[in-house]
Amino acid sequence: MTEPAMRAEAIRKSFGSVEVLRGIDLEVAVGEVTCLVGPSGSGKTTFLRCINHLEKINSGRVYIHGELLAYRERGGRLHEMKDRDVCKQRASIGMVFQSFNLFQHMTVLENIVEAPVHVLRQPRDEAVDRARRLLARVGLSNKESSYPRHLSGGQQQRVAIARALAMEPRLMLFDEPTSALDPELVGEVLSAMLDLAHSGMTMIVVTHEMGFARQVADTVVFMDAGQIVEQGSPREVLDDPQHVRTKAFLSKVM
């Protein structure tokens, strides 16, 4: 039996006195696309950020390809790893943000080669070659020397996807990748993600795009108030929801 790409066990997370994740258990198999849906404030984004330790969890465990994330177990107790070791683990997890977060002072090409050259210590020529192939893949070959602020939101997000892929991650996290985009630009980003899903990438996507979830997801997870309410295939969750909260949410968004 192969290890799941991601396994979360009883994740709890509070901001101050507000508990935003109240015991999340989830498994994502290698090569699967999982979409997290739910009303805002349900904890989807926070959960996604816990998967690469951008948020520290208060209790529970995250395993990435079978390896405990950000902690080491010694004598029955958990010890947080050093920054450097967490960085190594993060390098194999790509993340795409709602607000793109491209490095504003670098060109598109520099954005993509930055981490491969300085973190993975790839030779620059190799990294540049790879970056150009990735840019071609997301359809932006002619933009390599542009600065982010001269690109549309859709183009920026496609660069962000290429930048994450340049680290050759085994798992990709998407945090509402199309929520900050004008409606006519959503399609180009979704098609880049679709292409990625077809190539067999394991993906966890927080999204409000029910059409995308229906078309691409292997599993749809509905979250509300810091808990997983319901999960299953898109057909089960989106077309035949069992839980009253799922029904209420879907009736509003579809």
């Binding site: 190594k88 993060r90 390098a91 194999s92 993340m95 943000f97 490095f103 002072h105 930055e114 680290m167």
Partner: protein
């Protein structure tokens, strides 16, 4: 119009009043002691400012550190150096040998590697560099901290998600972008530093002002020599201003609308003064500048 008239009257008086002794100004402007003073003033400015920036960046990083000991230490440093007059600090360092007659380096309570008389080690030049640089560090720290805070958190988060370690993120992602915010006030501070170095005359260091003072104490030509000093400070400040302009440009890559280049901006100022002084606008020069 009234402003122009006043300026003209003043200019005429400056040129015709022979008590300004422009001849003496000319004699001393490039004399050896004055040039030596200029050299020392420049050296103090560059070295002390460099030390200040290094200390400032280190302090800013310490203040933003999650480690409470580091951030508290930086806070106390900034509190102390901003809270006491620089002149007092300079005199204090100068007289440090009264508190610690000998200085030694070694392992505490262990062997000593090096030991010497404080008066020999703390030369006036060293005092000036330390005093000016350490003081500057406190101000620079706040400027750098402000610059770092101005950068969107998403930038360092994106770097984090790519597995870039914290110090590398600071060096490659955050600081280069913060420079855009940091450079203008640092330019300001450098110009301030240039003029603040004149305080070292209390340490009997022969900087530009001290050199002039030494001459007019002998010749009583106070005004002409102060004009010499001012002309030099003005000249160096002008050079620094141009340098700052190009530095600001360097740290705003990809902006096509970085504004007109320095010579053009000055040309524009001159043109606007000229067109204000003549009743009819001068269309040819104004159009050219567009």
């Amino acid at each position: 119009m009234a402003v122009v008239m006043c300026a003209a009257v003043f200019a005429v008086s400056v040129v015709t009043n022979d008590r300004f002794r422009w001849g003496v100004v000319g004699d001393y402007l490039f004399s050896a002691p004055i040039l030596d003073g200029v050299r020392l003033t420049l050296m103090l400015t560059v070295v002390a400012q460099a030390l200040g920036i290094a200390v400032g960046i280190a302090l800013a990083i310490m203040r933003l550190s999650p480690n409470p000991v580091l951030s508290r230490c930086a806070w106390v440093y900034i509190w102390f150096f901003r809270g006491t007059p620089l002149l007092v600090q300079l005199i204090f360092w100068y007289n440090l040998s009264a508190l610690y007659p000998s200085i030694s380096f070694g392992i505490p309570f262990g062997p000593t590697f090096f030991s010497g008389n404080a008066n020999d080690l703390i030369t006036p030049f060293a005092v000036a560099i330390l005093g000016l640089g350490l003081n500057e560090g406190a101000y620079t720290a706040e400027i750098v901290r402000g610059g770092i805070a101005a950068i969107d958190r998403g930038q360092s988060e994106a770097a984090k998600a790519l597995g870039v370690p914290p110090m590398l993120t600071l060096r490659r992602i955050v600081l280069p972008q913060a420079m855009k915010v940091i450079v203008p006030p640092i330019g300001n501070q450098t110009i301030l530093m240039l003029k603040t170095t004149s305080l070292v005359s209390v340490l009997a260091l022969a900087d530009l002002l001290y050199a002039a003072q030494a001459i007019y104490a002998r010749t009583f030509q106070t005004m002409p020599l102060l004009i010499v000093v001012s002309l030099w400070y003005l000249a160096i400040t002008s050079v620094l201003t141009v340098g700052q302009h190009y530095l600001e440009r360097h740290f705003s890559p990809g902006t096509t609308d970085a504004g007109p280049s320095m010579p053009r901006r000055w040309a524009r100022t001159i043109v606007s003064v000229r067109s204000a002084s003549t009743p009819a606008p001068a269309p040819s020069t104004a159009a050219e500048d567009r």
